[in-house]
Symmetry: C2
Subunit: 459 residues, 2 copies
């Protein structure tokens, strides 16, 4: 555990202003997107890679748990100090170091807010596609730690697809450069992609080299309502069969539609059992052509209604349902457990069938929405925590849901990570030999187990 002498050493390393030890100041660092609370002993803000290294060297020597943290928007508890210790906030390392227009590469510190990077690169005609819902708050460092996804993943992939190289500090204090600053590179083991998505358990990232794309010329937003999920899913298939990979292909089920019906600026047809929000982007001619083909596919798919936005304002109207769905689910029940499971895209109707069956058997609403394009669906278990009978149903329901998902060739987490909330279920997806190998890899990075203990791998 951290003692007074450690705190004095740490204060000398970063300056006293960059170390918090008083209870009220610590409070914001005790929680994250899960709303769970674990108190840290102190919070430190390194300003450089070298300071990060000095802190970690001391932590390994003194066996002090260090919990790296971005903006604390994580959905699986990755930034929570479950065993106390030192929260290491990378917020102060927030410079965009370089945007290289010639080589389509950006170099940033981990504390840069995702949306800030996106604006900066778009201002010079470039594009950084990953767009987790939290992008106006979340940091690139946090996105790298969790391998954040987002709505555009179906066409553009996720964070890992844009990380070319990293500067990281190992728990022992060694500073390592991984990967490359170029488009290709195969020298040695791919440490870069091992660290992306490792949820701050292997190393602390202090700089990130990202691949960029040219900014798409334009985009077009469309919205369609369908009588049921089966025809909506068939429409998704038809769109893909026509050789179109839309930028956005979002889905919402009947339970969700019932929750947002009243607030919607555009009418939700009474007989609507599913909604698809679609966007295509790129060359203006191609965007027109593709949106026409999508309209045809929707009509062929017996869409009850179809709308295509012609202006940014119209597009915003179509986006309204998707933006408001998450909070409006609380109409159903006061508490929500959200799982970001993935199934192969074609099995979406089967998943909705499974949810219907579980919902009626457990007597809890299970509204589902999310990324139909890549099969990553957010399933929400609505319940009342204050009712012990309902509270007790959540864990068995989650376990049963995960079992079904895995037999369908899916995964228990598409973009939120394992953290602490999914750690008890990880062995359902990854049998023991795989988990044992991961534990040995963890040890290769972190021999004393000081970095973000208690996450992903249970002891």
């Amino acid at each position: 555990m951290i003692d007074r002498a450690d705190l004095e050493t740490l204060a000398r390393m970063v300056g006293p202003d960059n170390l918090l030890t008083n209870q009220p100041e610590l409070a914001p660092y005790a929680t994250d997107g899960t709303k769970l609370v674990f108190a840290p002993d102190a919070v430190i803000f390194p300003g450089t890679t070298e300071q990060t290294a000095a802190i970690l060297r001391l932590a390994t020597e003194r066996e002090i748990p260090v919990i790296p943290r971005g903006a604390g928007t994580g959905m699986s508890g990755g930034a929570l100090p479950v065993h106390g210790g030192l929260v290491m906030s990378l917020e102060h390392m927030n410079r965009i170091l370089e945007i290289d227009r010639e080589n389509l590469v950006a170099k940033v510190e981990p504390g840069v807010i995702t949306a800030h990077l996106q604006e900066a690169v778009e201002n010079v005609g470039l594009f950084y596609p990953p767009d987790p819902a939290s992008l106006h708050i979340s940091t690139i460092g946090g996105n790298v730690a969790e391998c954040a996804g987002g709505l555009r993943a179906v066409k553009y992939g996720v964070t890992r697809d844009y990380v070319l190289g990293l500067t990281v500090v190992l728990p022992t204090g060694d500073i390592i450069r991984t990967g490359v600053e170029t488009m290709k590179g195969v020298a040695g083991y791919d440490l870069t992609h091992l660290i992306v998505g490792s949820e701050g358990t292997l190393a602390v990232v202090t700089s990130i080299t990202l691949r960029l794309l040219p900014k798409p010329e334009t985009q077009r937003t469309m919205l369609a309502f369908f009588p049921d999920v089966a025809v909506a899913a068939l429409t998704v298939s038809r769109i893909i069969h026509r050789g179109i990979i839309p930028t956005i292909l979002e889905f919402m089920d009947r339970v969700c539609l019932d929750c947002i019906r009243e607030e919607m600026a555009i009418p939700v047809p009474a007989d609507a059992g599913a909604m698809l929000l679609m966007e295509v982007d790129g060359n203006a001619f191609l965007v027109e052509q593709e949106s026409k083909k999508i309209q045809e596919a929707c009509e062929q798919g017996k869409a009850i209604s179809f709308e295509k936005a012609s202006t940014r304002e119209e597009a915003e109207r179509l986006w309204q349902a998707r933006r408001e769905i998450s909070p409006s689910l609380y109409k159903l029940k006061p508490h929500k457990t959200s799982e970001d499971i993935v199934v192969p895209r074609s099995r979406l109707p089967e998943l909705i069938g499974v949810l219907g069956e579980l919902s009626s058997r457990y007597g809890l609403p299970l509204p589902a929405f999310g990324h139909a394009g890549d099969g990553n669906i957010h399933v929400n278990i609505m319940h009342d925590k204050d009712d012990p009978r309902e509270r007790g149903k959540v864990v068995p329901l989650v376990r049963e849901l995960f079992e079904k998902i895995l037999t369908m060739g899916g995964t228990i987490t598409g973009e939120h990570g394992i953290g602490i909330t999914k750690a008890p279920y990880l062995e359902m997806e990854i049998p023991k030999p795989g988990l044992d190998l991961m534990s040995r890899i963890k040890k290769a990075f972190d021999p004393r187990g000081i970095l973000n203990p208690g996450k992903i791998l249970l002891p």
Copy 2:
């Protein structure tokens, strides 16, 4: 070392027809794309994941080196039995297990030849982009082991960008599934991408789940000659600035052009100092629009000549130079050492300057060609091995070249891997703490060091 009893056990595991032990039969398995020769003690052909596991379990128990092998086209010696032992050829596990048109996913065994998979998926309107030059011989398993690149990487990325999940056997015989069969997934550490490019040193891959794309509607090939590399490179920049990422953006320098001049069906202008071969693909309208913009960029870039193919035959004529360049370099000198270095795309002119200086100082021709789009340039050190003075120059020249590349923010290998040929230089790119970490990771997979010993990491 392998003894008679081991051979008997192995023969029982796979059947006597799937184990070679006689000298003449072993010869083809003693070499690879490097033309270096190391004799194996035996060659085994597992037919299933379970047989692979049984073989590896025995090998770890008896400390027998096992060298996994695809088609043996590797350029850095990854498949060579440098310490003897058992070559494990995956050639017999060559089934395409599934092409899933709904979810754009293919599942294959490692012995499938890359071009066979490409044909099979193109027959159903899909596309597997990675195209290493050896694709008509090389296997997907070998491509995964080396993270093979190719000509289309500038637009479509490399092998790692298409691998969703793997079945692998650890050296200890444990069978593990890594990754997912879906578009997204972040459960646990990313073992998939750690194993891709690990050159058969961490695990033996026995099945591969690949992401596919819709097949592009059409493509268009263009060829331009420029007075020098600087204007050719400026043209590459102009193309990218116009928001176009071509599928192919291949480059050839003056020394190369002088070698192929006589054989070319189309005239190579006498004053040509650089050539660009370009291809765009996708929607027919867009392809026309982009090829027009590329033509403009070439004209603006003072191209001496510009040709655009209208038919498949014309395109083949334009491809001739690129296809024939490698063998025609032997006109310069009887032997060739080929390095696949990478520099940031914008630094190509600087690289060519460095090569000119090294060439005149060492008195050896250094023709360069390759992937201008991603900065991955094949530099060929032409020499006469039988002349001891020339032979002695190669290693110091390579070392000096690598030093320059690394100060330019590049890497010593873009797609060929480290294997044995680049292992002595790896520490120039990755300092000791990084190599030590890789050694610890190797140990986490392979505690007795039986899998492909002597590769990547020197003892």
